[in-house]
């Protein structure tokens, strides 16, 4: 598949909101100011595990400007969950708006609503709390120890009360095929453990919410949410109000990367305070609070793989221990996904996944770009290089030998989400990428600078993927994945889309305009996408799992096809011909072979209006029947300073199989940005907590390091020429795949440069240096 018959898809369209962003006119949630608005601040626990024995708000209430203070005694006693993307029966209900048992440093004790932030903060200082401090389990090892403190005394999974053994709240053991036989058939068996860190999504925008009571008794909510319908479900449930009492507005997000797939307390608390006070309430997290609220789950992944001498994989067993922090925002889904992704990395007949999810006394975690896949990729893609060396096979050849490609069964979002792969660009990308980086010429421990022999250069690679959404051929009982859309035609020939999918910065809202214009035959500028709110849009899944274009785009295309047929039918009445004699191009309807017979789309709509034909409008709801993997291949060149352990990435190639490109600027930006985040995971990003007290050690941008403009290597991007038959105009996703295999490519390049294998993330200078020193002795 090469030439695609599109006139708009593949160009570099200006994003619909780009001018507003470039001029500072776009209103993000934090820019909203309403008359009479109160400010909410939350009193947070200084202890990692404690019982709140009493809270005295007497002095705090006297602070001028303080309007309301709430504690555990005031909030609804409804055990709540915080995500609405998995089916509710697999989700964990384990928290209240405010707690009596606080479970991490930064957990919620009380909330203040005041006329100003200063007054709210002054009140926080005057609230007197009596804590009974309990021993804390800050690390995985502490939480799993026999005498570990119990972090949760009550939790529900769906409607069932959960037996929490120690702090393990869920376990899994799934087999496909016969792993024991697979290992028995292997000529070589390798087993290694790999640990991942706890990076923060760290969007530049801080989480913010504004809740305003309406004159009809309902509540308007503007918030940094990746899904307005999911947020409406979550807030309504935790407050015990009907969902229709809330109208949640879609906002452009200042990044999110998984931070806002859940509704993380501040939204619900401000909604509750707005109902109580009858006034608008605004809450905005500080950067420290951002660090105490989000993050990628740290995991210990042990992988055992069996290979034939020729590299054919015969069995794979992964065992995962997953730390969710103090609340199970994602249930056990991240553990299920990491385990599941280890199994779907390569073609192997005998698979087994075992794992457990645990609570610790650290901030609750949920998703961060890749949802379990970066952890799986770190383990499997490191292991593949280790196995390749032992087998004496080139790492690329070993990957190709076991490549999962077209026609193979794909376990997407865990083993219950099953579909068939219909497009795969991996071989093409491996070929292009290896040629570009000079794979054949790579050495071992090459010292490129005669005057600095301590600098060693290495080349490493890894391949991976992420899903495009969560669709499966049959509906599954694990994760919800469907979208809806309405489109109507206006009298001036513009098409207007009403849908709810959030745009986290990836540009998916603008791709809907391209899909609509391309499908109907309009100009790009003829499409308007409404801001949208839950009152006026159908339910849509959260923008997660890289589903913004692939999933939410499918009903958009269905609507556009419907609209096109309606326009052709009306125009055929005007021209007294069949609709098959007509085509629409750039907003004008033409008659085949009689181009002088033409009318604008606007004229068609106006004609129908004058004749009383009604509205041209369409609606659609689509459950995708696949979650096609968008494959990514990463090649990196690094230079390791063997005196200090410092690693500089000097070249980076991101090879991307995204199907049809809808907006070239968007996909290139995602590829480079995903690489940035992957390099951060590989080299430096980690949130640290004191193991004794649970206090954060680097909850700010001074101490939490991410790559700056000085650290980022030049990025070369190559595309696979693929077409995904199930995707909108042949497209599939890009957002997460571009991050997932980056960290193991870093480790594999470090190994090639200086012969040390790093199995614990991140590959900091300290860690690399320690391994170099160990190797010398």
């Amino acid at each position: 598949m090469s030439q695609k018959p599109y006139s708009l898809a593949g160009k570099r369209h200006e994003k619909l909101e780009a001018r507003q962003k470039a001029t500072g006119r776009l209103k993000y949630t934090g820019d909203i100011r309403l008359p009479d608005m109160l400010h909410c601040r939350i009193l947070r626990s200084p202890h990692a595990n404690a019982i709140v024995k009493s809270v005295d708000t007497t002095e705090a209430m006297k602070v001028p400007g303080v309007v309301d203070i709430i504690t555990y005694d005031d909030v609804p006693k409804i055990l709540s969950m915080h995500q609405f993307l998995h089916v509710p029966e697999v989700m964990y209900y384990d928290s209240y708006l405010l707690e009596r048992h606080v479970r991490h440093v930064g957990d919620r004790v009380a909330a203040v609503a005041a006329e100003s932030i200063e007054a709210a903060e002054e009140a926080l200082r005057k609230v007197v709390v009596d804590y009974e401090v309990l021993p804390a389990a800050v690390t995985m090892e502490q939480a799993l120890a026999g005498e570990a403190p119990r972090i949760h005394e009550e939790a529900r999974r769906g409607t069932d009360l959960v037996e929490i053994e120690g702090n393990v709240f869920e376990k899994v053991d799934v087999s496909i095929g016969d792993v024991e036989r697979g290992f028995a058939e292997a000529d070589y068996v390798i087993e290694r453990s790999y640990n991942t860190s706890k990076p923060n999504p760290a969007p530049m925008e801080r989480a913010c919410v504004v809740c305003a009571p309406r004159s009809d008794g309902r509540l308007d909510v503007w918030a940094t949410a990746q899904g307005i319908h999911a947020m409406r479900m979550n807030i309504a449930h935790s407050l015990g109000v009907p969902v229709s009492h809330l109208n949640c507005h879609r906002m452009f997000l200042g990044g999110s990367f998984g931070a806002h797939i859940h509704t993380g307390f501040i939204e619900n608390i401000c909604a509750f305070l707005a109902f109580r006070t009858g006034r608008p309430v605004r809450g905005e997290k500080t950067r420290e609070e951002m660090f105490l609220a989000y993050g990628r789950h740290p995991m210990k992944v042990t992988v055992k793989a069996g290979f034939k001498k020729d590299g054919t994989m015969t069995a794979l067993h992964s065992d995962t221990t997953d730390d969710t922090g103090s609340y199970a925002f994602s249930g056990s889904s991240k553990m299920m996904l990491t385990s599941g992704f280890t199994l779907s990395m390569y073609k192997c007949p005998n698979l087994r996944m075992t794992g457990r999810s645990i609570y610790t006394n650290t901030p609750p975690l949920s998703a961060m770009r890749g949802a379990g896949n970066p952890q799986a990729s770190w383990a499997v893609e490191s292991l593949m290089d280790e196995a390749a060396e032992a087998l004496g096979i080139d790492p690329i050849a070993l990957r190709l030998r076991n490549n999962l490609g077209v026609g193979d069964t794909f376990y997407g979002q865990g083993p219950k989400v099953i579909s068939t792969i219909r497009s795969c660009g991996t071989p093409e990308l491996l070929e292009k990428g290896s040629r570009l980086i000079g794979w054949e010429k790579r050495g071992n421990g090459y010292a490129p600078y005669p005057d600095r022999p301590w600098i060693r250069r290495g080349i490493g690679m890894a391949r991976g993927f992420h899903t495009s959404g969560c669709g499966s051929e049959k509906p599954n009982r694990f994760i919800m994945d469907f979208s809806g859309a309405f489109i109507k035609m206006n009298e001036d020939g513009t098409a207007q889309l009403m849908n709810a999918a959030a745009d986290c910065g990836g540009g998916n809202i603008s791709t809907y305009a391209t899909l609509i214009a391309e499908t109907i035959g309009l100009r790009y500028s003829d499409v308007i996408v409404n801001g949208g709110d839950t009152d006026t849009t159908p339910f849509d899944g959260v923008t997660h799992a890289s589903r913004g274009l692939y999933g939410a785009g499918q009903p958009v295309v269905a609507c556009a096809e419907d609209i096109r047929q309606q326009l052709l039918e009306w125009a055929s009445r005007a021209f007294r011909c069949g609709p098959e004699d007509l085509e629409i191009h750039q907003g004008r309807v033409y008659r085949h072979f009689k181009p002088e017979d033409s009318m604008t789309v606007s004229e068609v709509v106006l004609l129908g209006q004058a004749r009383g034909w009604g509205n041209i409008m369409a609606h659609s709801t689509v459950r995708p029947t696949a979650c096609p993997p968008h494959f990514v291949v990463i090649f990196l060149e690094v230079e390791v300073d063997t005196r200090t352990g410092r690693v500089d990435v000097t070249r980076a190639i991101s090879g991307v199989d995204t199907g049809t490109i809808i907006n070239r600027n968007n996909v290139e930006g995602q590829a480079a940005g995903g690489l940035h985040m992957g390099l951060g995971f590989g080299l430096m990003e980690d949130t640290l907590f004191d193991a004794a007290t649970g206090r954060p050690l680097n909850a700010n941008f001074a101490d939490y390091k991410m790559l700056t403009t000085l650290d980022m290597p030049p990025v070369e991007i190559v595309f696979a020429d693929t077409f995904e038959p199930t995707g909108p105009l042949g497209s599939k996703a890009i957002g997460e795949g571009v991050t997932n295999p980056v960290a193991p490519a870093v480790a594999n390049a470090i190994y090639n440069a200086c012969g040390v294998r790093i199995r614990d993330l991140p590959c900091t200078p300290e860690r690399v240096f320690r391994e170099i020193k160990k190797a010398r002795i």
């Binding site: 160009k11 570099r12 369209h13 200006e14 994003k15 909101e17 780009a18 001018r19 962003k21 470039a22 001029t23 500072g24 006119r25 776009l26 209103k27 993000y28 934090g30 820019d31 100011r33 999504p201 760290a202 969007p203 530049m204 925008e205 801080r206 452009f252 997000l253 200042g254 990044g255 500080t286 950067r287 986290c504 910065g505 990836g506 540009g507 100009r523 790009y524 500028s525 070239r664 600027n665 968007n666 290139e668 930006g669 590829a671 480079a672 940005g673 995903g674 690489l675 940035h676 985040m677 700010n700 941008f701 001074a702 991410m706 700056t708 403009t709 000085l710 980022m712 030049p714 990025v715």
Partner: protein, 174 residues
């Protein structure tokens, strides 16, 4: 305690009073309502609050508002001229340097301060000048390209949402 100060904001003289402990960011956003300037961390580390004060890019969250008395301050709202986008704004849009857009105002101000002092910066000079501005979306690549294109005198025009370079004066350096 409030204090009244006079300064130039986006080339217009202004007299305003604000609490003496307020930062310039608080004055710009909360009193003057110019919300184009963002506050990503409010502790001087992310650069989303960057404005230009007397030709230099500064973190407005790290400067006291009263310290701009008698100075000239430019925010992102001051980049457009008579409804015409600044060349940097056009280049950022054309090159796809704007993703979530939250770092964009700060990036634009650091880029403007750089180009005003050094109209044709090299890639390494651009990297250095932007090193105080974090971006979580783009990997910086397209931001570098956009600034280089302005340095090279590229002029863009737009047709149905697609921007093309219609004129290039010089080749980018490096």
């Amino acid at each position: 305690m409030e204090k009244t100060i006079r300064f130039h904001l986006n080339e217009k003289p202004l007299e305003v009073s604000c609490p003496v402990h307020w930062t310039l960011l608080e004055l710009i956003r909360d009193r003057l309502g110019l919300t184009g300037t963002k506050g990503g961390c409010r502790e001087g580390e992310c650069g989303t609050c960057t404005v230009i004060v007397d030709g230099r890019n500064v973190n407005s969250c790290m400067m006291l508002a009263v310290d701009v008395a008698g100075r000239s301050v430019t925010t992102v709202e001051g980049l457009e001229r008579n409804g015409e986008l600044h060349p940097l704004q056009k280049a950022f849009i054309a090159k796809g340097a704007i993703q979530c857009g939250f770092c964009t105002p700060g990036m634009l101000m650091s880029a403007k301060a750089l180009l005003d002092a050094n109209p044709r910066p090299s890639r390494s000079e651009i990297r250095k000048a932007l090193s105080g501005n974090l971006c979580r979306c783009t990997g910086y690549e397209k931001i570098f390209e956009a600034i280089e294109s302005v340095g090279a005198g590229e002029i863009f025009d737009v047709d149905d949402g697609v921007w093309q370079a219609i004129e290039q004066v010089q080749k980018p350096r490096d």
